[in-house]
Amino acid sequence: MNRWARVLVLFGGGAAVALGAELAQPGTRWAALALIGGAIAAGELIVLRPPYREAIPISFAFMVVLARRATLGEAALVLLVALLATFLVRNEPSTVEGRLALFLERFVEGMAAALVYRGAQEVFGLPMSRAQVLTALALAAVAPLAVAEIARMVRQRELSIPMHGRTADLALVTSATLMAVSDLGVEGRGGMGLWGPVVFTIPLLAAWYSYEHLEIIRRTYDQTIHALGAAPELGGMVREGHAERVADLCTAIATELAFSRHELEQLETAALLHHLGQVCIDEPDDGRAPEAVAVAQAGAAVLRGTRLLAPSGDIIAAESMPFREKISSRPSVMSGQILKVASAFDELCEGRPERAGGALEALHSCPGYLYDIRVLAALEVVLDRRGLLEDTASRVSR
């Protein structure tokens, strides 16, 4: 069953329960609550995936609609049933434990929306003015996002709140507010009933559509770069996995040296493609490997022909330069030095982690003008953090 079939099953389930409730006892609020429950269950499978931010489901918006319509007890019951249905139907996360953890997290997020709305209602008193209704709903919409953020910090064991990709949060909060206000109206005016949430889901679905396409194109681009980087390996010109290992190490070293996200991306691309030049130049007749400088210059020339990859081309060109302290503060030169160190390290290790200590020692013993000492120091920190220098340390202590 694909995602859309699951979405239909979940929403259809909610609609069926709503019909049953209406037939059993016409005119009660349970039919509407069942429909909202179906929307929450289905909305769990439609997630906004903005770049550099964890995905957020559009069910958060329906939770706000529920928060306005239902008492706390009703909200808890609807959430339990809706999220249980999603738990049974969804296939991500792949493990039962992961799905169970998500079920509990979502329940807390949904209840947070309901509690915040009821809390705001208590503070403002009834009847609420237009501004008070909008404020209460906006706060209720922020609540699940805040809980999700706390859950992320606990999972990742870090206290920072990254600001990238927050436009998705804004889209969710504004849409959720509008959906809830259009449902029951405000100051006795309007109120489209459940047609309101239906109509005002469209902007959210448009945002989902855009983010989805953006995500697909980014992934395709990344995978294309990785595939191109693997070409010299498939041709037997470079040891298998070299490009990926060097890219990973470069990213770790550059993170240690506080590079920006943009610089990290350019360096990672350069690392993945740093042997691309090898496929462009003639093989030496005597069977030797081509000169590293020629490989770097040929690769750099290819990348410099494109607007997006030109900065990575500069980094590859800088890789073949010897270290000069005075000019090495330029980002592309510094990145080039990181690439040079990471690539040399991987070649010395021959892809075997147990050789990390020896390879690091070999790099340190090279002439001072060859490798940037700051990069070597950062490499040491990275290797130490990964537990790859334990053998060396124990050897030294012995």
Partner: protein, 453 residues
């Protein structure tokens, strides 16, 4: 002697007729409804008119089959708002604002502006008439009849608008009207959800006031911005991949431009077979990268004039599985990647394969290989290449793909091959007139004759 009108004259005549119709309908509506414009209606026209103007001038170019038109949302909202105010001509006036594309004003394309304004107005007259009929005299802003009215009015507006716009496009491009209409209607259909959203915008405007409208506009703007980023990244990515492929093709001067031409021919076939935008995009990428495995083939072998030794041939042949392996690593291309080898594409000819793309790329690849000069022989004529494709249709090539490619090239009146090559070659050893192994077609001349050539 017949006195046939030119397309420009026909377009001008169409614009004149449409403008005349708009004036006549406006006068008729004014007489029938006798509007008494008050301040509320005037403010409505101005506010929604400014929204329409802004929406028209910030529309995102939609190439992926989805319109991101804010204009249609504002126009449908104006139906709701002015039905409430009882002002039939309100949407028509808002539509005039939306017709002003600043780019067209800068270019002084007055006939385009007049055409857009009249096409919008005529579509809006039809949509507004139906909307008033369905909603009746009820002034409620949210009920089922409003929703049905908006759905019908949106469909009528988008449909009629497509029919009118298809007229000048068909005349300008000299394409059949039905084909152009299908394309424009398909594009406009993407704007349908936004048209429905017009009901929401109208409701927000009437019930909560213009100040709450941003709550609706913010997510739409965010969606549009993300969509614009997507289109920008898509264009950059395409340019990047194409530049990379071209640079890498420099390994073999004889195949310079090959990937781009194969992608173009594959697109011709895709168009003939009615591929949608996503499928077309995948076909283009896969065609562009179909020979990516050649990266691993040493330059000396690619440029070797004459026959390869068996060992050399084996090394060159390795590029096919490597191409497949590399394409498989890209999720978007993986469904077609496994079948881009010659053998698998031949299997597809028998109809076993789920997707026709590999067979299309196979035909496009063979056609370009035959009509280009290679190190082992000069370019063949287009007639010879067509004849080879026809001979292989049903056995080596998929009949559907062969027919579509030949039809597409003939329809365009384009000629490739001997005497029509775009790239000039300079070679150390001039290739023979005919050779062996042309694009997997087998020997075109007996081996002894080829050796002697």
């Amino acid at each position: 002697m017949t006195n046939r009108r030119t397309p420009d004259q026909l377009i001008r005549l169409t614009v004149l007729v449409m403008c005349g119709l708009v004036v006549a309908l406006t006068a008729l509506a004014a007489v029938l409804t006798r509007p008494q414009i008050d301040g509320q209606q005037l403010v409505g026209v101005l506010v929604l008119g400014v929204f329409a103007l802004a929406a028209t001038n910030s529309d995102v170019d939609a190439r992926a089959g989805m319109g991101m038109s804010g204009n249609v949302m504002v126009l449908i909202a104006s139906l709701v708002v002015f039905r409430y105010y009882g002002f039939f001509l309100g949407p028509i006036l808002v539509g005039f604002f939306g017709a002003f594309d600043l780019q067209q004003i800068r270019e002084r394309s007055w006939s385009k502006i007049a055409f857009n304004a009249s096409a919008d107005s005529l579509s809006l007259f039809a949509a507004a008439g139906l909307f008033w009929l369905i909603v009746g005299s009820g002034a409620a802003t949210a009920d089922v009849s409003q929703f049905i009215g908006v759905v019908v009015a949106s469909a009528v507006y988008l449909g009629l608008n497509s029919m009118l716009i298809a007229i000048p496009v068909s005349l300008t491009c000299d394409e059949p009207y039905s084909g152009v209409l299908r394309q424009i209607a398909g594009f406009n259909a993407g704007g349908f959800p936004f048209a429905i959203l017009g009901l929401g915008l109208g409701w927000v405007y009437l019930e909560l006031g213009a100040a709450v409208v941003p709550l609706l506009l913010v997510p739409i703007l965010i969606a549009r911005r993300s969509f614009a980023s997507y289109l920008e990244l898509q264009a950059s990515q395409e340019q990047t991949i194409e530049t990379l492929i071209l640079a890498l093709e420099a390994k073999d001067p004889y195949t310079s431009g090959h990937a781009r031409r194969v992608a173009m021919f594959a697109e011709y076939v895709g168009e003939e077979l009615g591929f949608g935008p996503r499928r077309m995009e995948r076909l283009r990428y896969a065609a562009l990268m179909h020979d990516i495995g050649k990266l691993i083939v040493p330059n000396q072998l690619l440029n070797k004039p004459g026959r390869l030794t068996e060992a050399e041939f084996e090394r060159v042949k390795r590029h096919e599985p490597v191409s497949v392996e590399l394409l498989r690593r890209i999720d978007f291309l993986a469904p077609v990647a496994g079948d881009t080898t010659t053998e698998a594409a031949e299997a597809a000819v028998k109809g076993d394969a789920a997707l026709i793309e590999p067979a299309i790329i196979h035909v496009a690849d063979a056609f370009d290989a035959m009509t280009s000069t290679r190190s082992y022989r000069r370019a063949l004529s287009q007639e010879t290449a067509f004849s080879e494709l026809r001979n292989g249709a049903g056995t080596q090539f998929k009949i559907q793909a062969v027919d579509a490619l030949i039809h597409a090239i003939e329809r365009r009146g384009e000629i490739y091959g001997e005497g029509h090559e775009v790239d000039e070659h300079e070679w150390a050893v001039a290739p023979p007139e005919a050779g062996t192994g042309s694009a997997g077609l087998g020997d075109l001349v007996p081996e002894e004759q080829a050796a002697g050539a």
